[in-house]
């Protein structure tokens, strides 16, 4: 069975959930091999083996975090040349897409981004135009290089052990042409990451103010252990920070549960959330297009319904 390379995203060896999902997806195509690079990478080997990786290629070199994407591309390009894998799976993050794009050039291969499923013969399923259209695509030259969205498949704990192979980084002048001189963490809310969250509680124009987000939307999110999202109307009004915008020009989310409060559901917003598994809507306007996506909807004032719901959710703990 041919190998499938999975690029692992991690923070100092702590593996992100999407990487374990990709190992499960890789197992449907061939034999999963993980590639984990950067400081702390060796701490990830056991977890990766436990989730289906047969081989783990490891380097703890600082180069992978000190320079923008190129050192990672160089290692992957070398592995592709040596192993001729059936496919390379990469998380659909900003870094991941850029790595995939450059790897495609380096290996003269096709690249597909934002897949939500990949078949055994490496045909990718994508939800394009915000999920309005479902596309099947295949790579026709070189090695299929596919970036995959978070929450596309459940991780599988196999209880296996991976064999570790150390890889070298050969730092080229081009790779070191960018230099990360400082890493700045912005204050974390303690809530799950919007693009990874299983539940998203979102607010729109109907929330009315930044105060509304603080006193109505955030408490429901916290009661559910959810991430907070916002429509463009709300972020443009300055009620909630732009990085939480869900929509065509913001984040695309696909959680198990999406609760849309005071959001009308213009295409701009629907494009970012319509692949959510279950959608609950609270909106005063019975004609709001967002109700077309609702599995359950309440026509009413979010300022009374949502706080009541928050209290009720808390009572289930």
């Amino acid at each position: 069975m041919s190998e499938v390379l999975v690029l692992v995203e991690h923070t100092a060896g702590e593996v992100k959930k999407v990487s374990l999902e990709l190992l499960a997806m890789a197992a449907g195509i061939g034999e999963p091999s993980a590639v984990v690079l950067g400081p702390g990478a060796d701490a990830a080997v056991a977890t990766l083996g436990d989730h289906g990786a047969k081989t783990v290629f490891v380097s703890t070199d600082l180069a992978f975090v000190d320079h923008v994407v190129v050192p990672t591309v160089d290692v992957l390009a070398k592995l592709v040349a040596e192993k001729s894998p059936a496919a390379v799976l990469i998380p659909s993050s900003a870094d991941g897409k850029e790595i995939a794009g450059r790897l495609a050039i380096a290996t003269d291969s096709g690249v597909i981004t934002d897949a939500v499923a990949v078949s055994s013969d490496a045909i990718a399923t994508q939800n394009v135009f915000g999920g309005a259209t479902i596309v099947h695509s295949k790579v026709s030259k070189g090695t299929p290089i596919i970036t995959v969205r978070t929450n596309s498949i459940a991780p599988v704990q196999s209880g296996g052990t991976a064999s570790r192979v150390d890889v070298d980084v050969d730092l080229t002048a081009l790779a070191s042409a960018t230099k990360v001189t400082n890493r700045v963490s912005v204050e974390k809310s303690g809530r799950p990451d919007l693009s990874e969250a299983a539940i998203v509680v979102s607010g729109g124009r109907g929330v009315g103010s930044d105060e509304g987000f603080k006193t109505v939307i955030e408490p429901l999110a916290d009661a559910l252990g959810a991430a907070v999202g916002a429509s463009r109307a709300a972020t443009d009004a300055g009620w909630y920070p732009h990085q939480f915008q869900v929509g065509q020009t913001g984040k695309t989310v696909s959680p198990q549960l999406y609760i849309a409060n005071g959001i009308s559901g213009a295409i701009q917003h629907r494009a970012g959330m319509q692949t959510s598994k279950t959608v609950v809507v609270v909106n005063k306007d019975a004609d709001a297009p967002i109700f077309d996506l609702a599995d359950f909807g309440v026509v009413g004032d979010l300022h009374s319904v949502v706080p009541d719901l928050t209290t009720r959710v808390k009572s289930h703990k």
Binding site: A94, A132, S137, S140, A177, G297, G300
Partner: protein, 259 residues
């Protein structure tokens, strides 16, 4: 300082978008065509850098004949010249081919900075800036929400999931900017008039020394096998709030095992 901003003409991001039956490419006629919204941030950033010192901003776009309108539109924000690569053989080009064409068009023109929007609102791949950097062998300074040029040194804030990385490189470099990096200006009447007279180069594949066999739908590195509209969602339950709205949502969430 010579800056080139690469822009893409896309369907309006507020419009429904479709693929064309037959060749599975974007149906460009089904929606109004506009300059990709994120590219306006790139133009604004370029203008600010030039205005803080000196220099010229050139707009480059690859696309069908109508894309010339988007080049003029971007110039009308205050840029100086335009380059439009147009060739029937380009129809259906994928990101690899697009990056090849843009890199060829940029090569040898002595640009100190090449700036992109970080993604287009139609394809949303976010790969072309990185690919162009790779093809030109230039530093990849992408996903910036802050761009600073000091002499021949470039500093950006590269947006990450934990905040940002401060990244430095020498010039020339390839930059992409994220949404809200700045506040793109509206074209002034004076600049709209000036844009009509701004020099515009129109280039074909042959002008770039590229073979039609290296681009276009038939030569793409990946193909769309088929596509389908997402089936409309079965209508869910919608109730009017009579004071029991929250309770009904609670019941639904319990039944679905969310709480």
């Amino acid at each position: 300082m010579k800056i080139c901003v690469c822009v893409k003409q896309v369907p309006d991001s507020w419009a429904e978008k479709k693929l064309t039956a037959g060749d599975n490419t974007l149906d460009r006629a089904s929606a109004d065509r506009v300059v990709n919204e994120l590219d306006e941030y790139a133009v604004e950033e370029a203008l600010r850098i030039v205005e803080a010192g000196e220099g010229e901003v050139t707009i480059l776009s690859m696309g069908p004949a109508e894309a010339a309108d988007s080049v003029r539109k971007a110039i009308s924000m205050g840029a100086h010249a335009g380059i439009h690569v147009v060739d029937d053989a380009l129809h259906g080009s994928d990101a690899l081919a697009t990056s090849l064409v843009l890199a060829k068009a940029l090569e040898g023109r002595g640009f100190d900075l090449i700036i992109f929007g970080s993604e287009s609102t139609d394809a949303r791949m976010s790969v072309v800036p990185a690919m162009v950097a790779a093809r030109l062998g230039l530093p990849q300074m992408t996903f910036a929400n802050k761009v600073e040029v000091s002499g021949s040194e470039l500093t950006i804030h590269r947006v990450t999931d934990y905040g940002y990385d401060e990244v430095k490189s020498a010039l020339p470099a390839v930059v992409s900017v994220v949404e809200k990096t700045n506040e793109p200006r509206y074209p002034s009447f004076k600049n709209i008039m000036a844009a009509k007279k701004a020099p515009m180069e129109t280039l074909t594949l042959a002008d770039l020394g590229l073979d039609a066999a290296s681009v276009g739908l038939a030569n793409a590195w990946s193909q769309v096998a088929d596509f389908a509209e997402r089936p409309a969602k079965a209508k869910g339950t919608v109730v009017a709030d009579d004071g029991s709205g929250a309770e009904k949502i609670e019941e639904f969430l319990v039944a679905q095992k969310f709480i």
